[in-house]
Symmetry: C2
Subunit: 321 residues, 2 copies
Amino acid sequence: MAALPTYADVEAAAGRIAGVAHRTPVLRSRLIDEQVGAELVFKCENLQRIGAFKFRGAYNALSKFTPEQRRAGVAAFSSGNHAQAVALSARLLGIPATIVMPIDSPASKLAATKGYGAEVITYNRYTESREDLGRALAEERGMTLIPPYDHHDVIAGQGTAAKELFEEVGPLEALFTPLGGGGLLSGTLLAARALSPETRVYGVEPAAGDDARQSLERGEIVRIETPVTIADGAQTQYLADQTFAIIRRDVTGILTATDAELVDAMRLIATYMKLVVEPTGALGLAAVRNALPDDLRGKRVGVIISGGNVGIDRFAQLLAR
Amino acid sequence: MAALPTYADVEAAAGRIAGVAHRTPVLRSRLIDEQVGAELVFKCENLQRIGAFKFRGAYNALSKFTPEQRRAGVAAFSSGNHAQAVALSARLLGIPATIVMPIDSPASKLAATKGYGAEVITYNRYTESREDLGRALAEERGMTLIPPYDHHDVIAGQGTAAKELFEEVGPLEALFTPLGGGGLLSGTLLAARALSPETRVYGVEPAAGDDARQSLERGEIVRIETPVTIADGAQTQYLADQTFAIIRRDVTGILTATDAELVDAMRLIATYMKLVVEPTGALGLAAVRNALPDDLRGKRVGVIISGGNVGIDRFAQLLAR
């Protein structure tokens, strides 16, 4: 395994994305605080470019391409937000991009990726391996493959969200982060351990796909079937070598949230914070509501909202009752 | 008529609300820009405390109360957001509050106002006069009445939103502002004329209730029946003396938007900006899409999103198709 990224890599990434990625706002809601019994600060990556934190990692990775790599182009496989992140980054940097996406991706994500000028190739996520497809494609066309989380520069880029959060609000008692393949959580851990070492950092994955929790218990990467959950951004089957190594070393704990809990959290965020978040983006708040350790009551707790890319019809449908 | 507020009053208001009101984010969407054909900057007052700009004016007005006024309390009549604004401001300043609200206000607004500890008295907006009710109440209890827009300090407070916008993004070619009773538009005009005098400032009211447009044409305040529109924050029947005087003096023009155009704008904002806005809050973007003057194509244009207080079930219902 290559050397793991460090906080110095997060700092370098922050320099590369400065002025290109948004410095997303940190928002609060007194009414959610009252319901939860803690003082919550939300880092709103649903307000990031392409509607999710993924832009940070993708832009960081692509901006390190050599002139040869830029000419040959970038390939990526993604359940959605990484696709848009690579597509937009490639367009901004003048790099051709081909994206492999699940055929059942939200229509909004497919359309957005094409809208950024990328070529899109679809596959069936329940029967085909996106890694194999992506690698074959990259080899065939001489393109550089940028995976959604198993990549040094992607992890370092994702860490810039938590870096900004700590810079803005200072130390936190705890921080809750959505967890799929572990890119955001790994980057968050690098930032937290450097900037606020006492912070308890929790990763939150869908209850239907708790491979990270199982992996930590077993001490090795556990592979599961593609989980069936509304949190399509966290439908990952296993952690990567790098994300597992960082998470195992630095995380406080792994929590889970059910689909019903995600919908409740989405409704709360829409009602009191006026934000549209995708199901995956609500994992952090769902866990805070569900499983806030007693000694965090009344304390200052961070929540990363990872993204807002849900078709608005789907959003309305999920929240209808 | 009392002396009209000036930009100096807006500056003083900014000092009073500093650290209490949120300095709301200014957000952009490349995809909306492409659709509209201009470079839009959105001042997001749906992310303000109580979910709307109204907090600015109410807090400014209440913070100027004498000790006697504070003890006797504040009364207000409001279709919703001003109610919450007065209720929260009163709570923060330790002032008792009684609010007169339409019985058909969104349940979310009624509940929020009570949640801030205010006493709520309801009335029928189609048959009763809220001014008469509010004044009788204020007299009976010795409370100070703070109207939603016909008030020097309220107008000055509302102007702080545009002040922040210009401070953050610099001069703008044009600025589109929702228009009900004219408090936000008047305050915006005071800020714009001082900070960016060349900016064309448009007020946007519901097509079903274009009393301000009629008033400007006739040169006097025109009263209309309570308009039936989904823009419940702009269901006003007439401008006030102060807001009419400022608007007549300084506005570039009055535009309108239909309910269908508001729903389309709400959908666009939810899809591309990940924000929940109430129908009234979408007036500015609806007008930009509908009636952007040709010479504003490609130019830098501001849009004030006034609020986000729509029940989430209602929001889902409006956007369903």
